[in-house]
Amino acid sequence: MSIPVLLFASYADAFGARRLDVPIDVPCQVADLVRVIRSMPGGDRLPAAPLVAVNRTWVREDVAVQVGDEIALIPPVAGG
């Protein structure tokens, strides 16, 4: 089983992709998902606890991820 994760900016560069299919069983916690992503090729360029948004809302790492959620890994923001 795998779930899609959106990537942006420096994180998209790290993985060479704007979308990652992460092999993990859901439901799971955000922290579990991040752990798997960091073990994938390019994942060493991520910080230990990257920002994550689920369904376009900031979430903490103990939040549960469900099938169908829109999950995004968010690099340090730099708008303005």
Binding site: A9, A53, R56, P75, G79
Partner: protein
């Protein structure tokens, strides 16, 4: 009982150049006595390196909804505030505006506080990134957690 008027007039992530005059017009109203506008513009130097341009990327739907949430919260704190906000994405040249915030109010303190609160929250919360293009040909995503942007 009337629902309190929420004066978030316009919030958008745009790819076309920002039309400052149009945004100022949107914020105008007969009860407005003060308008404070903040523009972020692309400058030619950052951390001592000559810059040729700036590329902005956004997580579009979330950027727009976060920006709208910031605007709603700011209008919730400052009664009577009228807000117009646009952030541009894509590749911008030196001098072009990346963001425009227009805050209008009957009184000046509220207008100025409104514009300042929105830009400060935007910098903290809205999923937008910028990659500087240097004259040397290099490009680099800025990380405000590492250097002062």
């Amino acid at each position: 009982m009337m629902v309190p008027e929420r004066d978030v007039l316009h919030v958008a992530i745009v790819s076309a150049p920002i039309d400052v005059g149009a945004l100022l017009s949107r914020a105008q109203a007969p009860g407005v006595g003060a308008v404070s506008m903040f523009l972020g513009t692309v400058r030619d130097l950052n951390d001592g390196r000559p810059v040729s341009g700036m590329e902005y990327e956004a997580y579009g739907p979330m950027a727009e909804s976060e920006l709208r949430a910031i605007a709603e919260e700011t209008c919730g704190r400052i009664a009577g505030l009228r807000l117009v906000v646009e952030h541009r994405v894509g590749t911008l040249e030196i001098g072009e505006a990346s963001v425009a915030i227009v805050a209008a109010h009957a009184h000046r303190a509220q207008a100025m506080d409104g514009a300042r609160d929105v830009i400060e929250a935007l910098k903290r919360r809205v999923p937008i990134w910028k990659r500087e293009h240097y004259l040397s040909g290099d490009r680099e995503w800025l990380d405000p957690t590492k250097v002062q942007a």
